[in-house]
Symmetry: C2
Subunit: 366 residues, 2 copies
Amino acid sequence: MSYELRGRDEADAAGRARTIAREQTVELPEGTYGAAIERDVVGRVESVSPRDQGRWCAVVSYPVEVAGDDIPQMLNLLFGNVSLLGGVRVVGVDWPAPPLAALPGPRHGIAGIRVLCGIREPRPLLCSVLKPLGASTRDLARRCHDLALGGCDLIKDDHSLVDPPTAPFAERVHRCQEAVALANARSGGSARYAPNVTGALEALDQRVELARDAGCAAVLISPLPQGLDAVRRVVDRHGVAVVAHPALAGAFFGPERGIAPEILLGDIFRLAGADAVIFPDAGGRFPVDRRTCDAIADHLRRPLGSYRAALPVAAGGIDVEQAVERVDRYGPDVGFLIGGSLYARRDLVETCRRLRRSLGATAGGG
Amino acid sequence: MSYELRGRDEADAAGRARTIAREQTVELPEGTYGAAIERDVVGRVESVSPRDQGRWCAVVSYPVEVAGDDIPQMLNLLFGNVSLLGGVRVVGVDWPAPPLAALPGPRHGIAGIRVLCGIREPRPLLCSVLKPLGASTRDLARRCHDLALGGCDLIKDDHSLVDPPTAPFAERVHRCQEAVALANARSGGSARYAPNVTGALEALDQRVELARDAGCAAVLISPLPQGLDAVRRVVDRHGVAVVAHPALAGAFFGPERGIAPEILLGDIFRLAGADAVIFPDAGGRFPVDRRTCDAIADHLRRPLGSYRAALPVAAGGIDVEQAVERVDRYGPDVGFLIGGSLYARRDLVETCRRLRRSLGATAGGG
């Protein structure tokens, strides 16, 4: 595990790394536990190297047994008590190979999502969102129809749409799923609707079952508000494709504390079972740089044990006119989630059609 | 909801507050949704007032329906997308009254924990921890016995002790529970052992059941690695007292982003059902100030709707010799979790006895 931390000099930084190695394992001062535990349990500081402005990079290795075999303990080892030390940032993880056996990773992955959406050519997916909270089921279903008819591949609920009186979950899922089916019948396409199933654990299970029974092949979950292990359980139990929303993730993205975005959204969301991960793209309404976005996309798609690649879905204020430019950066294995700027156009169907054509042309020619 | 945020001037800060109010509800630009939604759904900026160094405090109110009725949506409204904006910190929440109906709050609370531990007089609880990871079941059970015999009220597993080969969960729970029972029989006390049940959701349920069947009245959970709603479900289903560990919480404690510690550990952990909440105390090995610790303790104990008060458990490197001094600050309704500095003493039983006597004397006389 690589940590970025503060240090007056190399010795100071090494001391802090050693503190981390103990804090994440025995949580005891030296001398209060035996040599076998020191050897078999306590993390080992492998290296300390300078970075900019009094920051250092420390590599600490842990016995693989300490990582346990579930998501809570993995998070705990990764950043549990260390989070409370302040000034420490997790910037790299060498996942053990074979990776943590109990973590399923994507069940569908990029290839599986392409199959679900009937996409044979190598092109980015056009994704959109049903909102706002407060709209009626009827309005949302009409939007869902128009987006699908225009050629959106994946249409998800807004993550704040749960079970509001204006668009109750069961009614919304049935109407939106019917709307997509109707649009698909008209267009010959295979758009998919992913309802937001995030909620209390009992409701989560019921919602996934209801969605699956209604014909939905994908669902939206916000893994951090929901609890990451609940994503793993949905994947294990229900087999639907999971689209993950980054709500709350920004808490971890401090400049000098937290977990690097490519590790949290890239590695951890993927290991937990997300088939597609929404992230705020550079140039939108969230302050994020290109390098970070490239790293997130890379971590979702790079070879990692036997795990399938997950689809990076760039989002967060992508303008209709700018989506196509982004294909050069991300290549065809990406989704573009376009919401507000589509809604601002008069003709949703026609705008989607034009966008889908240009996305297809760009990548198909590449 | 009160946010601390950056702003060039009042107008700029008000603009950011308005962005938050939309981001957390409709997530759409103005003009792309109707007047009814603006009125019924979008948050309203109530006030903006200056703080130090270009920071502002903005109060935004949301319709209570937007908060939903479960923990994931509550977290989402609290800090979901806002987390990704950067530079925004949640510093105050006026919880609706009656509070969120689906959140149970503590089932036992301070009074209930006192009953479980057989404590009639108004004095702080002496708490300790079984560690390190890597120790055998036999060693841990012996420590558990000695701590209980010495007068510890509550003895919890280390949060990194899950199900290691050196001390498997089922074996550990049975041996440690027997050890506590034996010590109680000898001392006439009523010490309680709280095993760490954190894990995959299926394992969590099995562990709680096993612990309860073995006679444990309390369990330890790390709510953030576990998922906060899983705490709520344990409280709803199993009725055991829940001791909450702050692992991962530090991710939220950035100086200019995140959620104030008294809201996360004080309000949210309590609403989710924690009966006791461990927090790093000032003057220990974690960088935290007194004001923050006082605020955490206050939020756990203050009147809040019909919720029971939860026990603040000060921890994180409290020295045996310094525990007593802290009683003046926290009063009798507090626990002191003392681990490493107890372990460093030769005679665990005698050190505990001395400490328990001095804690009892201090508070009993107050």
